[in-house]
Symmetry: C2
Subunit: 349 residues, 2 copies
């Protein structure tokens, strides 16, 4: 932690006021577009503001008015395109509403998340949009944020006392599973994710519902856990094939896992979309260009970002409303990874 650095010599209201032979109050009224000030005076002031390249100090104004024009955005992992798109959507909508985004990243560490939030809070954000790091503790976060900092949680559930923008995980996994069933598969695994994460739990629930509705009894060995990264998924691929008869298809926890599984299959001489069908979740840009292209659940993260921004802005207008969950729609995006192009062994077994 280096000390912050001195800013440049600054043109202030006082400079403009003395140059125009007016008081600071009048200059302030001009800046804020008050109808009180004389048109000729206004013109003179505006010319002088331009001439001296005056830059409004919003922080000083906000301090005096006891308002804030920033919103903090805390992201677990910007290098995940899903969250990068989300962040782009948040920033777009906040900027349109006149707010500036304060960025923080946690790198999926709950510890770092506490530090980052503490630092952002000192900058007095009007609200916070938080995509929690894995293993976040709702009570601990509440201790830091208190009940007075409007916060919108995205993607990972933290408890009923938080405003929450959720993906429709249950439905997403259900339609992915239904799609695989419609392709003729009966032995369908659910691959990847951590059992204790709420989104994994919900996706497994949707998967289970679809199987049962189709008259298929889910086997415990079809549930394979692994960290939601490409690398871990590739490593865990073998776990799908330890018992006979092995699954012929898998609903993957997300796209990263699905891409890792594709790699793992290739290592074992199998080809996704030919002798094994799989689906992802998220529709990251890579999904469209992988080999084969990945059938997945599209979530439109940029639209989710805009939606998150709208929700926090709404909460700023009505801080006393009770916490609510909003469920965002999801959509099946069919590509080659799930549509077998050659006869596959075992779909009927």
């Amino acid at each position: 932690m280096t000390p912050p650095v001195r800013t440049r010599a600054r043109v202030t209201l006082a400079d403009i006021a003395s140059a125009c032979d007016l008081s600071r109050a009048t200059i302030s009224l001009v800046l804020r577009g008050s109808p009180l000030v004389n048109a000729e005076t206004r013109a003179r002031v505006e010319a002088e503001l331009k001439r001296q390249r005056y830059v409004y100090h919003r922080g000083a104004a906000n301090l005096r008015r006891n308002v804030s024009s920033t919103v903090a955005l805390v992201i677990n992992d910007l290098s995940n395109p899903f969250f990068a798109e989300f962040a782009a959507g948040v920033d777009e909508a906040l900027a349109a509403a006149g707010y500036v985004t304060l960025l923080g990243s946690t790198g999926e560490s709950a510890e770092r998340q506490q530090t980052v939030l503490a630092s952002l809070l000192e900058h007095d954000p009007a609200g916070i949009i938080l995509s929690p790091a894995e293993g976040s503790d709702g009570a601990r976060l509440r201790g830091l944020l208190g009940v007075h900092t409007p916060t919108l949680v995205f993607n990972r559930e933290l408890g009923a006392d938080w405003d929450f923008l959720s993906l429709d995980n249950v439905r997403g996994a259900r339609i992915a599973t239904e799609h695989l069933l419609a392709q003729g598969h009966r032995r369908i695994a659910f691959f990847g994710g951590h059992q204790d994460s709420s989104s994994c739990h919900q996706r497994r629930e949707g998967y289970r519902e679809a199987l049962i509705a189709a008259g298929v009894t889910p086997e415990p060995q079809w549930l394979v856990e692994c960290a939601p990264t490409r690398l871990e998924a590739a490593r865990q691929t073998g776990a799908l094939f330890v018992r006979d008869p092995a699954p012929t298809a898998a609903v993957c926890y997300n796209d990263a896992v699905a891409l890792g599984l594709m790699a793992g299959l290739a290592t074992r001489g199998r080809r996704a979309g030919q002798d094994f069908a799989l689906t992802g979740f998220d529709d990251i840009p890579e999904a469209a260009v992988s080999a084969p292209p990945l059938t997945t659940i599209a979530v439109d993260p940029r639209a989710r970002g805009r939606q998150a921004a709208e929700l926090i802005l709404q909460r700023l207008r009505d801080p006393s409303a009770t916490a609510a969950t909003v469920v965002a729609p999801v959509q099946l995006q069919v590509r080659a990874s799930s549509t077998t192009t050659q006869p596959q062994g075992g779909t009927t077994a």
Copy 2:
């Protein structure tokens, strides 16, 4: 532009002071870790700070001290994984130095860039890291930023009077071209990018150098311009094959263009890496999983982000130093898109 929103009732130094029967000055000394204050007093104050959940108002302190603890990061397109990684690296290094990142996105619009910068400037950033939108005008930006806002430009050249972190475009394109030459290609196109962009110009220069060093005379029809997006690249694919003999390989302006070209080739019944060789630039995550995987120039955008943050912090310490350009290293990453696995028609012609 909605008006900003009232913040919550706030615990201030005055509240802590009166609860401890001390002056605000003493509380401030405790907060800033002054050795002057009595150990017992300090302990009492710290207990009270905790009890009342005091949150430091850094904006007020910065105003009084005339310092800033934020840096603005202006990105053309966060949904481009290259810039998302860059942003992650910037934020990581800024946070480690005790700064908070103010985020702005321009969506590649020079107009929007002016608006976004003007808004960010009102939040008094200590410095700015700017990845300029296409078509940015250095003089116009200088008019907005003046000579007193330390600014580091990334990726796109704006002129000699700006601090600039540049990728080694010339060398990157040169080694990509040398690699294709080493694979036996002689008719090598340079595909994509806009001629008037500095990075495109530099990459073409490296390409040209490599050809000439290998005794190949570059043909004008090997230079194909197109917007640096996947879609435009796919559309322009035909321009490579209008004359006989057509190129057998292409150095692409960047990975997006290369992936678009792959798609365009597929449409025409050609397979990248089999009957046409190509290279990209950037090494975005998709490059490793495309079909076939893309040979490209790795730039390590996250490391570039950290580097950009270090450079602006250094400039904050020494604001009067003259503007300088730093050239960041690049590296060839060989994958299947450039290594022909079947005999290709025409490498020897």
